[in-house]
Amino acid sequence: MSDELLFFTEVSLAGLGSGALLSITALAFVLIYKATRVINLAVSEILMLGGYLFFAAAAGFGLPAWIAIPLAIIGGGIVGAIVERGVIRPMLGESAISVFMVTVGLGSVLVGLAELTWGTDPRTLPEFMSNTPIFLGDVYLSPKIAIAMAVAAVVVPLFLLLFRFWRGGVALRATATDQAAAYSCGINVPGVFSLAWIIGCATAAGAGILLGAIGGISPAMGVFGLSALVVVIVGGLDSVAGALIGGLVIGLVEALAGTYLGGEFKMVTTFGILIVALMIRPYGLFGTTEIERL
């Protein structure tokens, strides 16, 4: 394998790795949107919070990773439950934009609280993953990225299966299709809302731990969520498959653009793709088209 090709392959793999992280974060968006029709921008900050909760548990209290990780994920879920019950449910029936702005405000509150608690300086998470380099033939692959890919490979199919076969998943799909009808069929719609927020936020917190392990944590790390938002818009807001494929594509493109064009092209390429995608397929590659009626 020539050096150039080798380099290209390594960059691509790293891109797919961060794409896998994007996919997991995008899942949090999709899950919450599917059930409640809310684009929850606070997913970005829950992700940040997940990283910090892990940091607090592992570095602050010295707990081992296998306890700290579930704790952080559960913490994310609890925050999700509180937020849903406290401020999202009273907004039921308000315009999508108002609810979106509520989540933007929430994000700001969470960032401020994190800054108050842990300060504004970036920090590194304690090592909990193996550092042994992985070689596929000649191609070097960072072990952390490999783990991110492995997690995505487990989590995404798990979500697909849950949606399809689990009772709660079916209830969620029913709620997504028609809230009133689902409610009159005896589905506990408010329960579904809570569930979606809990699982979504827990997922985001988990993604935050992985992201923090790779790049360190800071109160501003929620910016990652913006890229994940692009992923869900490109993939389709209500599509799990769209989140997976969109995440990988955006991750790959960002890595290639960042390497071959320069770091400053990363964001602009992502958002360029977004605008093109919106113009060609407004509801995403795999999303459901909304039909307008008089």
Partner: protein
């Protein structure tokens, strides 16, 4: 209690201010604005100028988001276009102050129309996200079009001259900014007395029915983008003359959220809302500063707490108003008004 407001002609019933009370309030406001620069010290005069600029921009965003229902998270980027236009014109061409501001408005209006083009296909949150994308792309342009924008280090401006008089201090700038912003607010109020303003509201309330009633949707959505960004461009131009340095980081993405928050807190879709929202949201961080200074003897390193506390309060205001007072402060003001109209008879 107000008994009646009888009118002799339809034109007087179509006027902006219809009662003596409204005229009286307007007079008090005008007097206060006239007296302010002589009474305020340097710091408060600085804030007064900043508030004025923000009122202009928030009113512009209110036209687009509050009245037309097109949510934009690109207001900061639009202001940046205006600021850069002014900076470049002053540096390279040396055209006069008012011309530069108008050019900033016009160029930003064109950029606004381009950014609004996705409204051809998408609306609602999708459009909001398209405007986020547009702001990041504009930021990229400001950083990388080195020959024009001088890259990350930005452009410094000489003080503006207004018909020969240099505008060096905030005292001078106040006398230019306040009339400009007052005209812009008046323009916005006028707009909603005419067919164009009605078309905007119709698009916000029921876009498809509006089309069947004779309103070409795309043209009016783009017009709304144009007018709104014209306002943002002028506000950005004033900003450039005020701070006298423009860099890509002068208008971060959070500024767009700030303006959206301002009209939410003030009241979307009312002229008054844009004004009170901008005033309130500009002053809250300053009030928090006083609070933190006051608390500093009692709280260790209170100074480092200021920024996070501002962030929390900023978010909490957005959430609180949306949940408890979705019509914003303008609705609270209306409620007080109604109370006095009915006084002493009330439910």
């Amino acid at each position: 209690m107000r008994i009646a407001t009888a009118k002799q002609s339809y034109s007087s019933d179509e006027a902006l201010l219809r009662t003596n009370t409204q005229w009286a309030w307007m007079g008090i406001l005008a007097l206060a604005l006239l007296a302010a620069p002589f009474l305020l010290d340097g710091y408060w005069l600085y804030l007064a100028c900043l508030v004025t600029i923000n009122v202009a921009s928030a009113t512009g965003l209110n036209i687009l988001t509050g009245f037309t229902g097109l949510v934009s998270l690109g207001q900061a980027a639009f202001m940046a276009v205006g600021a850069y236009t002014v900076a470049v014109l002053q540096r390279d061409v040396g055209t006069p102050f008012l011309f530069n501001l108008l050019a900033a408005g016009a160029l930003t209006a064109i950029v606004g129309v381009l950014v609004g083009l996705p409204s051809l296909r998408v609306k609602g949150l999708y459009l909001a996200i398209a405007t986020i994308a547009a702001s990041f792309i504009l930021h990229f342009v400001f950083v990388n079009w080195q020959s024009l924008t001088n890259g990350p280090s930005g452009i410094s401006l000489e003080p503006a001259t207004f018909f020969g008089a240099p505008l060096t201090s905030n005292f001078h700038l106040y006398w230019v900014f306040v009339p400009i912003t007052a005209l812009m607010v008046l323009g916005a109020a006028n707009l909603f007395r005419t067919r164009i303003g009605r078309a905007f509201i119709a698009i916000r309330d029921r876009d498809i029915s509006a089309e069947v009633l004779g309103i070409p949707l795309l043209r009016y959505k783009l017009l709304s983008f144009a007018i709104s960004s014209f306002y943002a461009g002028i506000a950005g131009g004033m900003w450039a003359y005020f701070f006298r340095v423009v860099t890509p980081e002068s208008f971060p993405f959070i500024t767009s959220i700030f303006f959206l928050a301002a009209i939410i807190v003030g009241g979307m879709g009312t002229i008054l809302g844009g004004i009170v929202g901008a005033v309130f949201m500009t002053l809250v961080p300053e009030l928090l500063r006083f609070l933190v200074e006051w608390a500093s003897p009692f709280v260790p390193n209170a100074g480092t707490l200021l920024s996070p506390v501002r962030t929390v309060v900023f978010g909490a205001l957005i959430v609180g108003f949306l949940v408890f007072e979705p019509q914003g402060m303008a609705e609270i003001i209306q409620r007080i008004r109604r109370f006095f109209h009915l006084w002493p008879f009330r439910k």
